[in-house]
Subunit: 345 residues, 4 copies
């Protein structure tokens, strides 16, 4: 049986990344996987080649409108759409269709959090596409609806989880995450122009207002079994891809204790790599790959654990997580079409 | 009387920045100021034009060796040298010579801190070239020896000072500071190659080991009247200049209280600018200028104050502070030759 | 008498650069110069601080609408507007007002060229704000209307002029010019997003269709006394500012002959600097300054002269040329408020 | 039979790229291919993880010294060594060993060219690893020694070949090629520091002195059947990877004629893609992939053909060409382990 896949929002960065990964998926070559409809909003009617010239094998594909009719008849539908739109699309598709939503709509469990941060009615909660969370892999194996985590939450949660879960740090964490510009999407805005971003670092969403904050808090609180507050500050740096998250929390544990907890937690994980002591993560090492690179230590003078994580926001942070989730839900090897090798330098 | 200025370490980034600012200093045009000897280590014998092609008016100047003999006979000597070398040079120059050291040797008050972080015997403490610290301006007016602050401490201290001094936050602060590559100096190292830095963000000196940590702690502790612990993590981003420091501390104060403290503290300061509410600092706005741009707010959910500061590490973070200090020590207007205007975009 | 200056299009990059230079103009401090109305289109009503946070001294200024009424009553009006609009504004202002147009409308002498490249009726020709062209300085001293050259023509013409004027090369030149993104202006477009520009070099306007082509040809043909054809290709590189133009033409002259012509041509020019042999221009050396750095040599195997020039597209390429032209037209020293020092690294 | 591969110079960028591609080669998974010795000079003894943290699957591999003894016993040896060293290594290995040299030593046919540009005795000529050259594929199928082309020649030759071979342009071409910094290798040099490269474009090797010049000329002359002179100027831009070559030559042909020649020439080539009219190449579209993207047109006013090509200098420009050549020489499908999909944005 051939699994037929559609990508809604194919002209954006999330859609483009999913397609990049699908182009290299081994099941495409064997015929188990087929790339069906590619849809867009304003870009419908254009060729994919004019929008994503890096996807040469699909260059002649023409984008269709994002409608339930076009998306129907596919086994898997990836959604790379603005938040607030995926619920409606999902309702119109068959319940058996595997829908993998890269938007935020179905990530939060608490309707009040959704209301506070997004200002609208909550669309419900779907299994969370972060297989590395304890117990999550099983949930994803049975799922026909999957909410891909936000890019910041992916790296922040994975960088803090072992310490939080083991109770090694106080349940208040600080995350300062440096991101490339692609995290802001492919919409024309003056403050995302190259001239504005190149040569400059700037914070945004300061003071706990970024929408990924409750998502980080939710996962960490669940792991801790107690509420974990999160001070989260995103910083835009002059690069296209990558997130480097510096995560701190007060601790009385030693560096060795903390390190042991991380190594144990991620020992069996293909995509999460705790670096050897003295080595620190760089986003440049994970570009285009699905790896999370982590380093953790304790500043004993300041009684503070410092965990630093690097991911590619578009791969492990979006498209890679989406493909990883698809693989799981289809019963395929979780790592198919995904690599721990980055493109560097 | 003409003040004759020498720059030791003129081939490096600190030396180049001091010279850039001196080229635009109004006292140069009036003849009150004269650029004398320019010295270097391995680059002695080269023209300045071959090393700093952006300093066209000085292009034909030839660098001399950094020796006390060459530096003697100047009224002001700027030192842009590796740490550990300025004490010796200073001892060999006349006590009346105004020596402004951009290196670390004379910044710390505590010999044990020096030993812990630099591993050698402490050379003594000089007045600290951060005029915006309470009481510091007077000390600098009488000084013939000045220690220019580190670039990270400058922005971190100024971003935290009002809250710490007013007791509005707990005496434990977290600083994650994103920097451009020029902060690492002009020494050929593989990990500072363009290919390694472009397209990548990476943390370094993680876990409280960066040498600027005790300098931040020292100034904040003095302002607080109680020890302030500092968790400091520097992050290298793909840009040449600029530091963006995200500083957090637990608080029960409101955003309005904190903001009022900052506005009061910096109301009379030319170079420290608290941005209007809703505006956030970007390093791109301060490149080439001596301004510090700050924003401060409180994340009430996380009971955390977030203060973000931006400087040009080479201007306000090094060469601008050096010139500002010189102006003060010579009895000139503190702002001469310095601008609050940046080069953007 | 105080010269009162208005800037129309103050929210764009050209307007911002003019204001940056005016903020440092010595006549502002002496009171000979005053910054009057700042106007914009869609950004009217905003503070300058929200649009150009690097211009701290003007942060509280509010932008007005771009109308003849607002601009009236100024001695100098700088226009940083889309082409096609300045003619109308100029007609509505007093003939004695010094109007300095950074747009393209009045640069070309040949109405057919205008029609071919811009597709509309020609608005007429104004004195060309490139004082370094032979005879041009005198024309600008008497002018009340000045057309600031395009950024590409400025560096391309200056890099080729001595060889063309002396007949040392064939009257067919090839220019490949690498530019930063600010040359494309401050309009939100997907293909100028940071994510699209960072990490990528791309050609545009290939095949002689770029609108600056006839402007280069016009100046070179006039200097040669014979038509000079120009193959011009612009390349967008991941930087905010700067143009590096590589200009070639067939020659039988020797490197020494060509070099001598350049040194003679620019010996008296403050802003045009022929680099010593073996040194090559970099845009990084001219950022924020008004300098043009040139190198020239002959490839004898290929019988080709190669002249390379670097400018800051916003300074010497736009705002600096505008201020230089203003200085001349007002009878001030041409170099006031302009520097040959760049901000580097 | 398992093909055992060694990489000499594994710590450099060429070596790293070859290993990145081998990690994704399908024959590695099937066991037909095995990664054997990895060697280095000064970095021998280090883990690959400390030098290429993006190559996670090989992180624990320890680099050995580059000696014939270590390299012996492999079926394929890739050489990523400074020029002048590969001849000696090759002589010491069995004649049946497939040696693929990424250095320059064996690319030129003319000993005088080698002497003129490299100043030493020529080591001899090996089959040239550019399968897209007419007749070259067959030569590579039988080869046990292969010289991988230089990065600039690869894109310049492919961008000019169809026009030159068909006699559509004059036999004098001008190439201005913008490159990322990785082309200069991984050696610590001040002028390759991030601070020097970011925010700046600069020409180097101006005047026909770059060593890739005779290589371009050689291939084009052979295709033309007459000597082709080449004016070649490389420009360093602030990016890590990628070359964009703008190639011009005088022509009386029409755009349609030229275009038809290109489409015909590359119709059957997997890795060379002539873009649809109106679309222009960007290096950002080919990063990490083995594709060459080309556009060609004619500027009729200037009677000049303009052909623009984009490649990833480390992939198609080095490591990808090396793997493509290996595939051919081993009788495998030429495209195995290579992709026409780039990592973008």
């Amino acid at each position: 049986m051939t699994i037929r896949v559609a990508v809604a929002g194919a002209s954006g960065y999330a859609g483009g990344e999913i397609l990049r990964l699908l182009c290299g998926h081994p099941r495409l070559r064997t015929g188990d996987l087929e790339i069906g409809a590619l849809t867009a909003g304003g870009n419908a009617g254009s060729t994919l080649g004019s929008l994503h010239p890096h996807l040469l094998p699909l260059a002649d594909r023409v984008l269709e409108d994002t409608t339930p009719e076009v998306l129907a008849g596919h086994d898997v539908v990836f959604l790379g759409l603005p938040h607030g739109t995926s619920g409606q699309i999902a309702d119109a598709l068959a319940p058996s269709t595997l829908i993998i939503d890269c938007g935020a709509d179905h990530r939060l469990q608490n309707a009040q959090d959704w209301l506070d941060y997004y200002g609208s009615e909550h669309a419900g909660t779907w299994p969370y596409g972060l297989p590395e969370l304890p117990g999550n892999r099983d949930r994803l194996r049975d799922a026909s609806r999957i909410a891909v985590p936000g890019c910041y939450p992916t790296v922040s949660i994975l960088a803090l989880l072992p310490a939080i879960a083991a109770g090694l740090v106080e349940p208040h964490v600080t995350v300062v995450a440096v991101t490339g510009a692609s995290g802001a999407g492919r919409t024309a805005k003056v403050d995302l122009l190259a001239s504005e971003v190149i040569g400059s670092a700037r914070a945004y969403g300061v003071g706990g207002v970024h929408r990924h904050t409750p998502e980080i808090s939710q996962a960490l609180s669940e792991a801790a079994g107690t509420p974990v507050t999160v001070s989260f500050t995103p910083v835009l740096a002059p690069m296209a891809r990558g997130i480097l998250a510096t995560c701190t929390a007060r601790t009385t544990a030693s560096a060795a204790e903390v390190r042991a907890a991380y190594e144990k937690a991620y020992d069996d994980e293909t995509f999460v790599h705790v670096l050897p002591e003295g080595t620190l993560p760089a986003t440049g090492s994970v570009i285009g790959g699905n790896a999370v690179q982590l380093a953790v230590t304790v500043d004993e003078r300041a009684q503070t654990m410092v965990a630093v994580g690097a991911i590619d926001n578009l791969t492990k942070g979006t498209g890679g997580a989406a493909v990883q989730s698809m693989n799981l839900a289809l019963g395929w090897d979780e790592t198919e079409g995904l690599s721990t090798v980055g493109v560097a330098p």
